[in-house]
Each structure stands twice: as structure tokens, then as C-alpha cells.
């Protein structure tokens, strides 16, 4: 068997045949997740202790369908959750927690350009519609929660590597980006616009696992 090794994920092997086109009717779904956190216990000599916990999880899932060859309509759901909690028994007892949730729904259009059976580029314009919520508790203050929303538009290109005809890895590239965003919480409003262009490949980008399931004839 002919083994071709991918640069970044070399254990993934190339399957036998690959179709270059993303044909009309092909269904797509993609997902990624990242998480990180820490748990800390602090103990001063002879006087109680304090604890601090911070956890962040950010899953994303998207679905799409090709309405024409190389043109896909899709919908992505992104969530970002941050839990922060601190508890202290040094001198006096004190406890507080802050949590933040951001759920964003993004309808988007993707126009693909296949470079080879393995590689493709896409350009993705889309909308961001988000719900924001933060809630906090503490021993000394009243419980507090805030709700908000955000709305924005974006456009950026991306790259797809088809590991097999059905399975691909993709990344969004910020070579060209345009983002328009309005966010409103109970106590604050913000409006932002940013646009940029660069010819340098950014240093860091996230990878998404994705599947392309061609319509069976």
C-alpha cells in the first residue's frame, strides 16, 4: 500500500481514491473542542487555606449542505464556558464564583476551490448571533447575573486537507479578515469593527475535524 504521510498528522494515512470536487448534495459536519484549567490550593503557615479553581471549555459543532458544486450553506454552534471559583478560610471565610457563558450561532456560506484531490481552500462569509450570560456569587455581595447579546458579520478564508475522501482536517486562516460586532450586556454596550490583511501565515490556528458525506446515487 502506498503510504503518504501528512506533515502535521502523520499517522493518518491516505486512502485509495479521492474525488476532488465537493459535489452538490454532499453533507458536511465538523467539530472541535479545546479545554484548559487549573485547580490550586494555597496554604499559609498555621492559618487555614484557600482554593482557586478555573476551568474553560470551548466546543464547536457545525453542519452544512452543498447546494451547488463547491458551494455550501452551513450553520455553526460555538460555546465558550468559563467557571471560576475561589474559597478562602484564611482569617475569615470567603467564597466567590464567577461564571461566563457565550453561545454563538453562525449561519455561513462557503465557497470552495479545490487545489488537488487532497487540498482545498474556502472563503467563508457568515453572521455571528450570540447570547452572553455571566453570573456571580460571593459571600459579601448579592448574587448577580447579566444577560447580553452580540451580533456581527465576518469573512475569512480557510484550508482543508482531505485525509480520506470522507474525513478532512480544516483550519481557518486569518490572511484576510473582516469582523463587525455589536455586543450588549446589562451595563455595557460595545461596538467594534476590524479588518485586516496580511501575507504572513499566522503563528497559531485551531484545527477542526470534518466529514464530507457525498450524496449516494
Amino acid at each position: 500500500m502506498k503510504k503518504i504521510l501528512l506533515l502535521v498528522l502523520p499517522w493518518m494515512l491516505l486512502a485509495k481514491t479521492a474525488t476532488a470536487q465537493f459535489g452538490q448534495g454532499t453533507k458536511h459536519w465538523g467539530t472541535t473542542i479545546s479545554f484548559e484549567g487549573s485547580a490550586q490550593r494555597h496554604k499559609p503557615d498555621n492559618v487555614g487555606e484557600s482554593k482557586l479553581n478555573n476551568h474553560v471549555i470551548s466546543p464547536s459543532v457545525q453542519f452544512g449542505k452543498f447546494t451547488k458544486d463547491n458551494l455550501m450553506l452551513g450553520l455553526r454552534l460555538n460555546a465558550y464556558l468559563n467557571f471560576y471559583k475561589t474559597k478562602s478560610e484564611v482569617v475569615t471565610e470567603y467564597e466567590s464564583s464567577n461564571n461566563y457563558l457565550n453561545v454563538t450561532l453562525s449561519p455561513f456560506i462557503r465557497k470552495y476551490k479545490t487545489l488537488s484531490p487532497k487540498w482545498a481552500l474556502f472563503l467563508e462569509p457568515g453572521l455571528n448571533l450570540g447570547y452572553l450570560r455571566s453570573w456571580s456569587k460571593s459571600t459579601n455581595d448579592d448574587d448577580e447575573s447579566q444577560n447580553g447579546f452580540l451580533a456581527g458579520a465576518y469573512i475569512y478564508p480557510g484550508i482543508v486537507y482531505r485525509v480520506t475522501p470522507r474525513f478532512a482536517l480544516e483550519a481557518d486562516l486569518n490572511l484576510l479578515s473582516l469582523n463587525l460586532q455589536y455586543a450588549s450586556m446589562n451595563k455595557s454596550d460595545s461596538f467594534g469593527f476590524n479588518a485586516g490583511i496580511t501575507s504572513s501565515i499566522q503563528q497559531y490556528f485551531g484545527i477542526r475535524a470534518s466529514w464530507y458525506i457525498a450524496k449516494s446515487n
Binding site: K3, L7, P10, R41, P44
Partner: protein
């Protein structure tokens, strides 16, 4: 020596190689009205690998770093010095590399690395009395890395890194803080974890690799 132009690829199976970096440093400083200070340290990293097949190599990596010296601390209105080790680190890892040889000279490789690392640091803070902080960290990283090579001759490759991904990491840190004036202290235990499916392009770093005679 005659070489065919279409040239068969070089045979790598069974070949063993090493790449390494190492450094030592020492310095001393004397200034009027202040105690003399000095610093010393070393660092090294080495990877030993073997091609198990034409397209796959695996091996061990080891590394260590040490820094120390005599540094000045302003304490109780006087200039004092502290001598000792301020950093020590050691790591051991195992790597797998999968190769795509484009031709006789040039190719790319990439693969996963696992390892265990220990790092110790000791430092002073004089902003609120004199406090000494000692950090001891264990980490278990799982990462991916990719590179390219160019064959200089039968014995030497020049290699360059193309990208890496710190996919998964768990770590544990024990921190001791002691106020040297008040003789009080505290300790912390921190557990951290991280999963990030992303790729970093580093600034290009070049290296050499030596192949042993079989």
C-alpha cells in the same frame, strides 16, 4: 562518483542518528560598594533516533538546564548576597517521526512526542520584605512536531522545524513561599491541564543531524 540522475532514494532503514545542542556559561561582576556577583549555567538537549523502516524513525530525547550563581539582595538596609542554584530542569521524552522523502536530498517528517519534564526554580522578591519562592513543576506533555531536512552528505543533515502543536498537557506545581524576615511562609499545590487542537508555526530554527556509521 557516478550517480544516476533519477537516483534511487538513499537507504535509511537501520541507520542511527543524533542531534544535540549544548551550552555552558559563566560570568562574574564586581562593582564598587557592592558585593561581587557571579553566574553560571549549562543547557543541553539531545535526541537519539533510529530508522526502523525507510519511512519511520523513533528514539529518545533528553535534556537538562541549570542556572545558578551569587546574586545581590538589598535586605534590611544592607547589600547582601545569595548563592545557589536558581534553576534546574530535566526532561526525558520518546518520539516517533514519519518521513516523506521527496528525493535524494530533501524531505519532510513529523510525528508525536511524549515526555516527562521536571523544573525547579528559586527566586527572590524584595517588594514586600524579602520573600523566597521555590517552584517545583512536573509536566507530562503530548505534542506533535514537523520538520524538513536537507542532506548535506552521507553523514550530515540540516534540519528545520516547520510547526508544532502542544496538543495535550497535564502538570503539577508545588510552590513554597517563605518570608525570610518574618520567618513565615505558605505553600501551594497547582494542578493544570490543557487540550488545544491547534498548530503553531515557530520562527524557523535550524539544526544539524549526524548519522552514525553502522
Amino acid at each position: 562518483m557516478a550517480c544516476s540522475i533519477t537516483g534511487a532514494l538513499a537507504q535509511y532503514e537501520g541507520k542511527r542518528f543524533v542531534s544535540a545542542s549544548a551550552g555552558i556559561n559563566f560570568g562574574t561582576q564586581k562593582q564598587d560598594d557592592y558585593p561581587s556577583t557571579n553566574g553560571y549555567g549549562y543547557n543541553f538537549n539531545a535526541g537519539f533516533g533510529k530508522f526502523k523502516t525507510q519511512n519511520m524513525a523513533r528514539g529518545w530525547s533528553v535534556g537538562s538546564v541549570l542556572a545558578g550563581g551569587k546574586s545581590g539582595i538589598f535586605r534590611n538596609g544592607e547589600n547582601e548576597t545569595d548563592s545557589g542554584i536558581s534553576q534546574f530542569g530535566a526532561n526525558v521524552g520518546y518520539f516517533w517521526q514519519y518521513y516523506k522523502h521527496f528525493n535524494d536530498k530533501f524531505g519532510v517528517f513529523g510525528g508525536p512526542n511524549i515526555g516527562v519534564a521536571y523544573n525547579y526554580t528559586r527566586g527572590y522578591d524584595t517588594s514586600n520584605g524579602v520573600t523566597e519562592t521555590k517552584n517545583r513543576t512536573f509536566t507530562l506533555p503530548f505534542s506533535l512536531s514537523a520538520g524538513a531536512y536537507y542532506t548535506l552528505n552521507e553523514r550530515w543533515w540540516i534540519t528545520g522545524s516547520l510547526g508544532f502543536s502542544d496538543l495535550f498537557m497535564v502538570g503539577y506545581t508545588h510552590i513554597d513561599v517563605e518570608n525570610l524576615d518574618l520567618k513565615t511562609g505558605s505553600n501551594s499545590n497547582v494542578f493544570t491541564y490543557k487540550f488545544t487542537p491547534s498548530i503553531n508555526f515557530p520562527s524557523v530554527s535550524l539544526g544539524l543531524r549526524y548519522f552514525f556509521k553502522n
